[in-house]
């Protein structure tokens, strides 16, 4: 029966049905293919631009090219700040087969301590974008680089990356003057021009590095790179080259700076040397210094606390921020003021009984020499550092005139052109006292100012600057640290230079200089030991600054006091007398006896600057001299 049905099948009808259905199917196939084609046309023609943009965005990434920071060199071209390639150990996890084995191998290769290894693993475990290298260790040494290079084939995914890092070859000596760069922090990031600083991680934090940040930094460039889906750079499509920062030539002389630092070794203090004619700061040292390289990569907490808690305040830049009573060092300036105001003449003398009394006042203002210097004229007043002469002069001038005359020399204000973080010191006046204490000025306070005590506070830089102006016979040249920016010399005349000091009689300078020469070379000069064997004419003035007030008429033995309570020793000097090439200010904290200690250092500085190589001062001999000489010459 079934067989029959099969044979009874109507082949024509079946064929008809099939043909109808397959024709329908063919139509459907064509329609649906048309639909696909329509979709493709929409994507590839209508939306082509949209998807082209999207595909470009996919593959093209813009990467910043940070500029190379300008180098800093001293006046003779000696590098003071350079960019040293450092090598960092990077790990790209996506290319590491066995992370655990790789880390273990690296730890063995680099001979890491347990602590380092732990930090190492923490960094390796940090989340990263795919194919973004993770920093495992920075600043590899040569030995480590060599060992990594030899084992490179066994360490897939491990790379050594070079990076330029600021390096200060003479970090301790230069730290304060030069400053340092450090990692850009969150606050700085907000104010910085993001385009200029793209890809840059460091910025000048203090000193020259900070003041000339704009010049040294340069301009970031860009490069367009093609990356794959995993962010790996495949090739460069184009670039705008970065503009490197300009090199900076400083006025500093590295040798002189080094000498100054060595002279102050083991001491707290500061030495500033200026070339009077050019305003060049030849040396600017604050001791103790510190290793500024530590700050570049980021100093560890323990070391930083150590520096901060050090009683010697190594991070404190005494040269520009240290406030010291100038003591007797300002007597030549006062003498000039007196001459200019007509309060004294070079020939006028006073009689010094060992003290000074204001009219209608029984209080005695003492000379440092109990029994007095007897008859004293201008030059002798400077040579022996007579107090009574200057009490009298200060009284005659009055505080207003004194304030004006001393301000004209730069006291109480910032004096330098390009010194970052400079303090203005303090030049007291009636207004200042009223504002500060709400009290009127007392005549006795004028007398204190007359011998550089009281409220008057100067920075070593100010003292050196005033000395330079004096050596220049009143002509102001602003002190500066930069000699050349790129190829551009810094001009001698700078904006906001204070007006020159003009006096009626030019010979008055000679009289003051003569007095200052007698300080060093005169038979009763306070620093006469310093003048022994001097090969040129030098003028100077000693000073001491009391750390705390002693009761009047009370004398003390410096050695009985704790070292830190001893007087600060100061000395200012310039040489050669007839044509000054260098002006120096020296401050040695708690040295005791200004004429001895500070004056020897000042002379070492002038010797070094003025004499030939054979005659250069020897620091060790000098130190011996200082020990035997200490306190043997009394003086102010």
């Amino acid at each position: 029966m079934r067989l029959r049905r099969d044979t009874l099948k109507n082949p024509q009808q079946e064929l008809r049905i099939f043909r109808a259905r397959s024709l329908l199917a063919a139509l459907l196939v064509v329609t649906m293919t048309g639909l696909l084609m329509g979709r493709l046309g929409y994507l590839q023609v209508v939306q082509h631009e949209v998807y082209t943009t999207r595909s470009e965005k996919n593959r093209v990434r813009v990467e910043p090219l940070p500029p190379t920071r300008g180098l800093i060199q001293d006046r003779n071209g000696v590098l003071l700040a350079e960019n040293r390639p450092t090598y960092n150990l990077m790990l790209i996890r996506e290319r590491v087969d066995d992370l655990e084995a790789t880390l273990a191998r690296l730890e063995a290769l680099l001979a890491l301590s347990e602590e380092e290894a732990e930090a190492f693993r923490v960094r390796a475990g940090q989340r990263q974008r795919p194919f973004q290298p993770a920093l495992l260790m920075s600043d590899l040494d040569e030995d480590q680089i060599a060992r990594l290079a030899v084992n490179r084939h066994r360490l897939p995914g491990v790379e050594v990356e070079a990076q330029l890092l600021r390096y200060y070859p003479d970090a301790e000596i230069m730290a304060h003057a030069l400053g340092y760069v450090g990692r850009i922090n969150a606050d700085e990031l907000e104010t910085l021009d993001a385009g200029r600083y793209a890809g840059t991680h460091f910025i000048g934090k203090t000193g020259v590095e900070r003041f000339y940040e704009d010049v040294l930094h340069g301009q970031a460039g860009l490069r367009k790179v093609e990356t794959n889906a995993r962010g790996r750079v495949l090739r460069e499509l184009g670039r705008t080259a970065p503009v490197p920062g300009k090199d900076l030539t400083l006025t500093l002389d590295k040798e002189l700076q080094t000498l100054a630092y060595e002279l102050l070794e083991g001491r707290r203090g500061s030495i500033v040397a200026i070339a009077p004619k050019s305003g060049d700061i030849l040396a600017m040292v604050s001791a103790p210094g510190f290793d500024s390289n530590q700050f570049v990569t980021g100093i560890d907490v323990a070391s930083y606390r150590g520096l901060q808690e050090d009683l010697d305040l190594p991070l404190f830049n005494r040269a520009i921020r240290g406030h010291y009573p100038p003591g007797s060092t300002i007597k030549p300036f006062l003498a000039m003021a007196g001459l200019a105001e007509g309060a004294i003449t070079p020939e006028k003398t006073i009689y010094d009984p060992g003290y000074y009394q204001l009219p209608n006042d029984s209080r005695r203002y003492r000379n440092w020499l109990r029994w007095g210097h007897g008859r004293v004229d201008l030059e002798r007043s400077i040579a022996v550092s007579n107090n009574t002469y200057y009490y009298s002069l200060a009284h005659d001038l009055g505080i207003d005139s004194l304030h004006a005359r001393m301000s004209a020399l730069g006291f109480g204000q910032r004096v330098a052109h390009d010194v970052y973080g400079e303090s203005g010191g303090l030049m007291p006046s009636r207004e200042w006292k009223r504002g500060r204490f709400g009290q009127s000025w007392y005549p006795g306070e004028t007398l204190s100012v007359g011998i550089g005590q009281g409220y008057w506070q100067v920075t070593p830089l100010q003292l050196a600057t005033a000395t330079a102006v004096l050596a220049n016979r009143g002509e102001w040249v602003k002190p500066r640290l930069a000699r050349r920016i790129g190829d551009e010399p810094v001009p001698r005349e700078l904006p906001e230079t204070p007006p020159d000091i003009v006096v009626e009689n030019d010979a008055w300078w000679d009289r003051i200089f003569s007095g200052m020469e007698k300080v060093i070379s005169g038979h009763e000069g306070t620093a006469r030991r310093t003048g022994e064997g001097l090969q040129y004419r030098m003028g100077g003035k000693s000073g001491t600054a009391q750390v705390f007030s002693l009761g009047k008429d009370q004398r003390y033995n410096a050695e009985e006091l704790a070292e830190r309570l001893r007087d600060h020793a100061l000395f200012m000097a310039f040489a050669p007398l007839e044509d000054p090439e260098i002006a120096v200010a020296v401050i040695v904290e708690n040295a005791g006896g200004g004429s001895t200690h500070a004056a020897h250092l000042a002379r070492a500085m002038t010797d070094a600057w003025l004499l030939d190589e054979e005659a250069q001062p020897d620091v060790d001999t000098l130190r011996e001299t200082l020990e035997t000489d200490d306190g043997s010459v009394a003086g102010n």
């Binding site: 109507n10 099939f18 196939v29 493709l40 046309g41 994507l43 590839q44 996919n58």
Partner: protein, 386 residues
């Protein structure tokens, strides 16, 4: 009625050998039972496919060679299958279907996990095999065999049997889980039924039932399957996760424009933005590097293959051959449509390769085996006297 009874009868089906009663001299093509036009179109497609594969694999010649070897093996299979008499095919149909069904059950019980789904049957050291691939052919063969027993259009009782023939493997494959393949295998069976002249009332009723069953299907989907559908509806909802594939593939195609970026020049493909670029998403490489022109050319090639296939099926001598041939070629089209539709973003992501272009051995072998059967059906037709 038992299964053996009617196949035994078919064995006795009087099929005259082609040589008898023929006066015309047979061409070489007729003697090897191949259709030269279809073969040519397939060879062009495969050659073009190898070219695209070279680019899509990241210019790896070893991948291209491996694919070429598979093509050769599969072409050998095509040649062998083309020699079979339709009667032989018919005789083997219940065996193939039964074996396929048993293997699917075996997969269910002892199958090997691959890519998070149980799809492979492994005889250790011998072979890894996906029974669902066998089903792609065995299923339409079985349905066609059943329906060709009786006069068309099919009666309700036969349709019920066909529903069972289709449903069993579909459900087993869906459990693996491999929803995409199960739907494609099911579609192959359904095509046979549709070509057999299923009445329009049934078609409408079934479509309505399918629509009604959609929520039920949704509830039974795995999470990743639902995610695929949701991603399809809004790829930007998860651009770096499940939306990534579709965003990158449409970007690749769209950025290709009319003329394309050039062979090996596609940035989306060469820079690895495109996922699965040498397997399921290879058409995006084609679209990016050869543009609309290349896409239209390839679609046209597919269209020609399909129309030629339908033509061959229509000229088959018996109902079994016609139904089977038609279903095979329509399934082939479905693969093309689903793959291109998915990569160009008009269908959800289903793991369907682009026939004869995507890298992969099993699918090429199955597809060319299907064409072998199609040629067997055509090449052994009776030459009726005019």
């Amino acid at each position: 009625m038992t299964m053996t009874s009617w196949t035994q009868r078919l064995r006795g089906h009087p099929v005259r050998p082609p040589s008898s009663g023929m006066t015309r001299r047979k061409s070489l093509w007729e003697r090897v039972h191949l259709d030269p036009w279809l073969l040519l179109l397939l060879l062009v497609l495969m050659t073009a496919g190898l070219g695209v594969l070279y680019s899509a694999s990241g210019q790896r010649i070893d991948v291209v060679i491996a694919q070429g070897i598979r093509f050769l093996v599969a072409l050998g299979g095509l040649l062998v299958l083309a020699q079979l008499l339709p009667a032989t095919l018919l005789r083997w149909t219940p065996l193939a279907y039964g074996a396929g069904l048993l293997m699917l059950i075996a997969v269910e019980l002892v199958g090997d996990m691959g890519m998070g789904a149980q799809r492979w049957l492994v005889i250790p050291g011998v072979i890894r095999f996906q029974p669902s691939e066998l089903m792609k052919l065995a299923m339409p063969m079985m349905v066609a065999a059943w329906l060709s027993r009786h006069e068309l259009p099919p009666r309700l009782r036969d349709l019920a049997v066909c529903a069972l023939i289709i449903a069993l493997p579909v459900l087993l494959i869906a459990r693996q889980p491999d929803l995409g393949t199960s739907l494609l295998v099911g579609a192959a069976g359904v095509f046979v039924v549709l070509l057999a002249g299923l009445s329009w009332r049934f078609i409408v009723a079934l479509a309505a039932m399918a629509a009604a069953a959609l929520p039920l299907l949704w509830m039974n989907l795995h999470n990743y399957q639902r995610q695929r559908v949701l991603t399809f509806l809004n790829p930007d909802s998860d651009p770096l996760g499940s939306g990534w594939n579709i965003i990158q593939s449409t970007t690749a195609i769209g950025s290709g424009g009319v003329w394309g970026k050039g062979w090996l020049q596609g940035t989306q493909s060469q820079l690895e933005f495109l996922p699965e670029r040498h397997t399921d998403f290879i058409v995006a490489v084609l679209g990016e590097e050869f543009g609309l022109v290349g896409m239209l050319a390839v679609l046209l090639l597919y269209l020609l293959i399909i129309l030629r296939g339908l033509w061959l099926a229509a000229k088959a001598h018996d109902t079994f051959g016609r139904l089977l041939g038609g279903a095979i070629i329509l399934t082939f089209f479905l693969y093309v449509f689903v793959n291109v539709g998915m990569v160009s973003g008009i269908l959800p992501v289903v793991g369907v390769p682009l026939p004869l272009v995507s890298y992969g051995g099993t699918s090429s072998v199955t597809l060319l085996a299907g064409f072998g059967i199609l040629m067997a059906i055509h090449g052994h037709r009776r030459f009726l006297p005019r």
